[in-house]
């Protein structure tokens, strides 16, 4: 995007913005109208509903959300799951991204792996979670294998535990981090690494002082994306929790689908949204200059 943003009237000839706007307006009319009507206004409706109680402006809904220990417990579970997921996704995804971009020399093999990486990404998270419901069941493949090779004496319960939810979410979100890190790695100039090696650095030093810092923006963008998606996930926790664990998005869903309390539900929505947006803003601050998410 051009840096020539004409926000400061002093630097812009008085006639310029209206002319530019007039020429851009026919192109902008439809998208702006649509996004205002079906995105901005609905969000404003949620916000204003959350600020109303008993027909009058009030912060009572927020008090109900924030003064109740239960909500903080659910928030803690939600963000603990999101943090664990993000950590696991990073530890698993980074090596795979590095391997695919730097070690695999055959284009055909890399392409095959990219296809296998996109396949789950293009499959609904309900289908993917369903796969884990089969795998993680008491007599599922995972338990059978662990018992079979003697790691466990008897099957353990995954479904209905935070571990089960984390396994499912890691699976759902892994492709995001591999793509974010991999695309950052692909743009790192290999001659920089060669120079580091020529100057006597060990491969590890080269990685740690040259490669890793250069693709840090991609990693940060990926990490923040995974964290926000994990914190706002509904389907995977709903299926793998077996009704035993509650995460914040489930509270929102309950309020709108069964109770239909738009005031209290609105306050819950805005609470989740604020947490998410703060994190995204943080990501933008840290990853600034790192460019676009891809």
């Amino acid at each position: 995007m051009t840096a020539a943003l004409t926000g400061d009237p002093a630097t812009v000839p008085a006639a310029a913005p209206p002319t530019a706007l007039r020429r851009a307006l026919p192109l902008l009319a439809a998208p702006v109208a649509f996004f205002v009507a079906f995105f901005a206004v609905p969000m404003v409706v949620v916000l204003s509903s959350s600020l109303m109680a008993g027909g009058a402006p009030s912060l009572a809904n927020y008090a109900r959300v924030l003064l109740d220990q239960y909500h903080w417990d659910v928030l803690a579970v939600t963000f603990r799951i999101a943090a664990l997921t993000t950590l696991a996704v990073t530890l698993l995804g980074y090596p795979l991204a590095y391997y695919l971009v730097r070690v695999v020399s055959s284009n055909a093999l890399r392409r095959g792996c990219v296809i296998l990486l996109l396949l789950p990404l293009f499959t609904s998270n309900i289908v993917r979670s369903f796969g884990w419901m089969i795998l993680l069941g008491r007599n599922g493949l995972v338990n059978d294998t662990l018992v079979g090779i003697g790691l466990l004496e008897r099957p353990i319960r995954f479904l209905g535990t935070e571990t089960g939810i984390v396994i499912g979410l890691v699976y759902i979100l892994l492709p995001f981090i591999v793509l974010a890190v991999g695309n950052a790695l692909a743009t790192v100039d290999p001659t920089l690494e060669e120079a580091s090696a020529d100057l006597g650095s060990s491969p590890f030093t080269t990685f740690w002082t040259v490669t890793f810092p250069l693709c840090l923006p991609g990693l940060i963008a990926g990490v923040i994306m995974v964290f926000t998606l994990a914190a706002s996930a509904y389907v995977t926790p709903a299926l793998l929790s077996g009704g035993k664990i509650t995460v914040f998005p489930m509270l929102i869903f309950q309020q709108y689908s069964t109770v239909f309390d738009v005031h209290y539900g609105g306050a819950l929505s805005i609470t989740l949204l604020v947490f998410t947006l703060v994190l995204v803003a943080l990501a933008g601050r840290i990853g600034n200059g790192g460019g676009n998410r891809s």
């Binding site: 998208p31 926000t228 998005p249």
Partner: protein, 262 residues
């Protein structure tokens, strides 16, 4: 080298982890048992037959496809002019506008779904195809915008000006000069838009009913109560759709991710 071998092992283990659940679903859909079994015991296509005989599945597939196609068309119609305006004109609040159009990418879908349920209820559109469609257009438009914008480079502007100088009308310039340049970005953006709409649960779930439902939402509601091989068969079809979409992406614009930029 130990580090390299370790890296290789971790990488292949992670690849196996990525593929395993999909293999399990397809495998379980072929089992001859009446319960889900993996590895499958016996081989049969009966569950696919059962699925096709159930008109509610066929209807849900139809709804999902119509919705994804309509949402993609809507996203292209909105994102294309917006991208042109953003890339070719300097106007006030451009950055704000871009943020507005891209923000559905980071907004929790549950929140947007809830908002649209309440809003569409007020408009009398609650739980209708129109309510589903507007939500899907909102969430998939950023995909098209994101892949078209980088292709509208300043250098190509000269070509567009030349075209205009040679007497082409704006629409002719768009059709003959701009469109061929952005065809790749438009195609991949549209494919991502289609698949994102096709697999969505968290937005759709608010505005669906027992009669009007998409395939992922139908699966979600079903899986919470019963698990049987029919579900695995339906899931396998969606995996096949994903595979076809990826092949389509590869054939039209190529899979350039993770390879060095040209």
């Amino acid at each position: 080298m130990i580090a390299r071998i370790l890296l290789r092992i971790v990488a292949w283990a992670v690849m196996a982890y990525l593929v395993l659940p999909l293999v399990v679903i397809v495998g379980a859909s072929l089992t001859a048992t009446s319960y889900l079994a993996f590895p499958p015991q016996g081989l049969t296509l009966d569950w696919y037959g059962r699925m096709l005989a159930d008109t509610s599945y066929v209807a849900a597939f139809g709804t999902s496809t119509a919705l994804a196609l309509a949402a993609t068309a809507g996203a292209v119609l909105l994102a294309l002019p917006a991208a042109l305006a953003i890339a070719r004109h300097d106007f006030p609040a451009k950055r704000t506008l871009l943020s507005l159009l891209m923000s559905p990418l980071v907004l929790p879908h549950v929140v947007l779904g809830a908002a649209l349920l309440q809003y569409c209820a007020a408009l009398g559109l609650m739980r209708s195809f129109a309510a589903l469609l507007v939500g899907h257009v909102v969430i998939v438009t950023p995909f098209v915008l994101r892949s078209v914008l980088p292709q509208l480079t300043p250098e190509q502007r000269a070509l567009e000006e030349a075209s205009a100088d040679l007497g082409a009308r704006p629409f002719e310039t768009f059709l003959l000069v701009v469109l061929p340049q952005i065809r790749g970005g438009l195609t991949s953006g549209a494919i991502f838009a289609f698949i994102s709409s096709w697999i969505n649960v968290e937005l759709s779930i608010f505005n669906t009913t027992a009669e009007l439902t998409t395939i992922p939402v139908k699966l979600f509601n079903y899986v919470q109560y019963t698990i049987d091989p029919v579900i695995a068969a339906v899931s396998s079809i969606t995996i096949a759709v994903a595979a076809v979409t990826i092949v389509l992406l590869d054939l039209t614009v190529g899979l350039h991710v993770l390879s060095k930029r040209r």
